[in-house]
């Protein structure tokens, strides 16, 4: 309780409040513009936040992360174009509702379900934090290594139908992390005697190239598109209470979001699909799903908004990011020498609580903002896509160049930008590369530091937590093999979907 009060105290800082405001409103607008999304915005803003205090920088980035999905629901419902990738499922039922003349109802349900998901996950986390603080110190080098390994395996296996591609891209990410001067023995690895490769490949350069510049190039290459938005009439406020009718679906969907958010490498999409499937199976009108079912809309929006808060658990408690956005945020911690992991929970619980309370306040601010400004936001997003591309390109420069004023970094980012275009157009996932880089680095460091205590492979799992994680790895692989056998007997239909592009955090 003292930590919670101390955490709230940390938020009463002018800079933090401004960061919350910018993060929440900026996130909604960024989320609502099709083709931008939180990943692009966070990648661009990342270097700019290095000069800010850690709580201010993280609040702003978390604000964008948490609020972009609210904004992304607007075009998903009104014009059948998801503002952010994770709103793709919202189009299934949101847009048919708009076509039936129920746009205002759909928007109100989306906002209230998003709010429910966001707040539910944060309350869970605040209540769980004392428990986490007790468990986190049980994670030593061996356990963190195994957890990172589990993360890599999950991110590969989560890409159904694309496991080979996800595997090669995750391995590519791990390889990229090894390029340059190795920190213990100063051995040069894959530098090909080039001085510019000695300092390695910076994660932020890769992230900016893959997420921001690739999106700019893609929008500039593709046909120009200008979304035509529908205006909403009447107050949205009156529609919010309708969520009470779907409280069961909203609660279960939020729980899926919390669970999936906590597991590295899984994230919003799995949570959404599990919640959506649950809602459809337990609905009295399953035939309405995909044709304008309010339950489907609630399941999708509650699940995806519950993830950002939960995704902070592995990041803060173990220093292991579960997806691309938290992987980016990890660098903000490192720049400020705040090392996420068991020590953070033990020594700076107030800081952790401050982040949670900031996210809670953010959800309230976003909902208030949207209740009065949905029509304004939907007008502002009608920017032609090529002009959005130009803006991202110019902003991408700030991100890369301000890191260390290096033209080499910019050239590398441009290279990764083109690589990102290829991956996006082929509908191959970007996230495994980023997670491979981050988790590869963690695995290398933790395995090395665990070695003095390991004489035989069994020593890796001699402690209970290590044994549990190892068992989880076996279960995950076993379940995947079982699914493969089932798919072989009953091949899935229409397996090409936008899910993998969405995994790219577009």
């Amino acid at each position: 309780m003292n930590d919670l009060i101390a955490g709230i105290g940390l938020l009463f800082d002018f800079q933090v409040l401004v960061a919350l405001l910018i993060g929440s409103i900026g996130g909604v607008i960024i989320g609502a513009i099709p083709g931008v999304g939180a990943a692009v915005a966070i990648a661009i803003l990342l270097p700019a936040t290095f000069s800010l205090p850690p709580l201010v920088g993280l609040t702003m980035l978390l604000g964008i992360y948490g609020s972009s999905m609210y904004g992304g629901a607007i075009p998903a419902i009104l014009i059948n174009t998801p503002g952010t990738a994770v709103n793709a499922l919202t189009t299934y039922d949101g847009y048919p509702m708009t076509k039936k003349g129920e746009g205002r109802r759909a928007i109100a349900l989306a906002y209230s379900a998003s709010f429910m998901g966001g707040v539910f996950s944060l309350i869970c986390l605040i209540l769980l934090s004392p428990l986490l603080a007790k468990i986190a110190p049980m994670f030593g080098s061996r356990e963190i290594f195994l957890a990172a390994l589990l993360g890599v395996i999950l991110v590969v296996l989560a890409h159904r139908g694309q496991v080979f591609a996800a595997g090669m891209l995750a391995a590519f990410g791990i390889f990229l992390n090894t390029v340059g001067l190795e920190p213990v023995r100063y051995t040069r690895r894959f530098t090909f005697d080039q001085s510019w490769l000695a300092s390695g490949v910076d994660l932020i350069v890769v992230v900016l190239g893959l997420f921001a510049l690739s999106q700019a190039f893609l929008l500039l290459v593709q046909k120009d598109d200008r979304p035509e938005m529908v205006s909403l009439k009447g107050s949205i406020f009156s529609g919010l209470k309708e969520l009470w009718l779907y409280r069961r679906v909203a609660t279960v969907a939020s729980s899926f979001g919390v669970l999936m958010g906590m597991i590295p490498g899984v994230g919003e999409f799995t949570a959404q699909f599990m919640a959506y499937t649950y809602a459809q199976k337990t609905s009295k009108t399953p035939e309405m799903f995909g044709k304008g079912s309010p339950e489907g809309l609630v399941a999708s929006e509650a699940a995806n908004n519950a993830v950002p808060g939960a995704a902070m658990i592995p990041l803060l408690a173990l220093g292991i990011p579960g997806e691309a956005l938290t992987a980016m945020m990890l660098s903000v911690f490192y720049v400020h020498n705040v090392i996420p992991g068991p020590q953070l929970f033990r020594d700076h619980m107030d800081f952790v609580m401050a982040l949670y309370v900031a996210l809670l306040v953010l959800n309230v601010m976003v909902l208030m903002f949207l209740l009065v400004s949905t029509n304004w936001v939907s007008r502002i997003v009608q920017v032609p896509s090529r002009l959005v591309g130009i803006a991202i390109l110019l902003l991408g420069f700030v991100g890369v160049y301000s890191l260390r004023n290096s033209i080499t970094d910019c050239a590398m980012a441009a290279g990764f930008g083109v690589f990102g275009v290829i991956l996006k157009r082929l509908n191959l996932p970007l996230v495994p590369i980023v997670l491979g880089m981050v988790l590869g680095g963690i695995m290398e460091v933790k395995l090395r530091s665990a070695m003095p205590r390991v004489n035989s492979p069994l020593d890796m799992i001699e402690r209970p937590i290590g044994m549990i994680i190892f068992a989880l790895i076996l279960v995950v692989i076993g379940l995947h093999i079982r699914t493969l056998i089932r798919e072989r007997r009953n091949p899935p239909q229409n397996v090409d979907s936008e899910i993998h592009m969405t995994q790219g955090g577009e």
């Binding site: 700019a48 000069s51 139908g161 694309q162 080979f164 591609a165 595997g167 090669m168 995750a170 391995a171 590519f172 791990i174 992390n177 090894t178 213990v184 023995r185 051995t187 040069r188 690895r189 894959f190 530098t191 510049l213 690739s214 700019a216 190039f217 500039l220 290459v221 120009d224 090529r386 002009l387 591309g389 130009i390 803006a391 390109l393 110019l394 902003l395 420069f397 700030v398 160049y401 301000s402 260390r404 004023n405 033209i407 910019c410 050239a411 441009a414 930008g417 083109v418 275009v421 290829i422 157009r425 082929l426 191959l428 491979g436 695995m443 090395r448 070695m451 072989r488 397996v495 090409d496």
Partner: protein, 179 residues
Amino acid sequence: MSRLKSLQELFKRYRRPGDLVFATVFFLTAVFLMTQLGTQAPWRGSRNIFAQPAFWPTASLIAMVLFSGLHFLSSALSDRQPGRWAEVWQWIRACEFAGWFLVYVWIVPTLGYLPTTILAALLLALRSGYRSLKIMLTMAIMAAVIVVVFRGFLQVRIPAGALYDYLPASIRVFWLTYL
């Protein structure tokens, strides 16, 4: 024959035009990197295998070759999809904008952040097919706002343009510091 067919089925995965080109290039790159392991990440002495600097490059490259090989196989064994080279052309077109980006990066230290950003915004708008004065004005204002927010307010590290030294003394310091 039936065994070969079931093998093909096992590796068939959904894909889009151009996948085979990408799969081939990625696989060949992985194999090339693997052949460089001996010189670029040599094993040293008889230390613990996991503490070797070469361990992680080796492990990652083995995984890259294995998975990219399987991806290549699955792509090669699937039915051909039309539009392969049209897709590759789209990738090449993206390189044009990577070029624009690099020219922009190259000019900033000379011309200065504000003028270069406005110029880049206007030229890219023209390149994208826009001609109206309203759009040009919007793009110029957007470019100026980006500069003021990031260099002026957030003070991100972007060096002042060399040409700013020739500005009149009364405004030079302001431009050097904020624009």
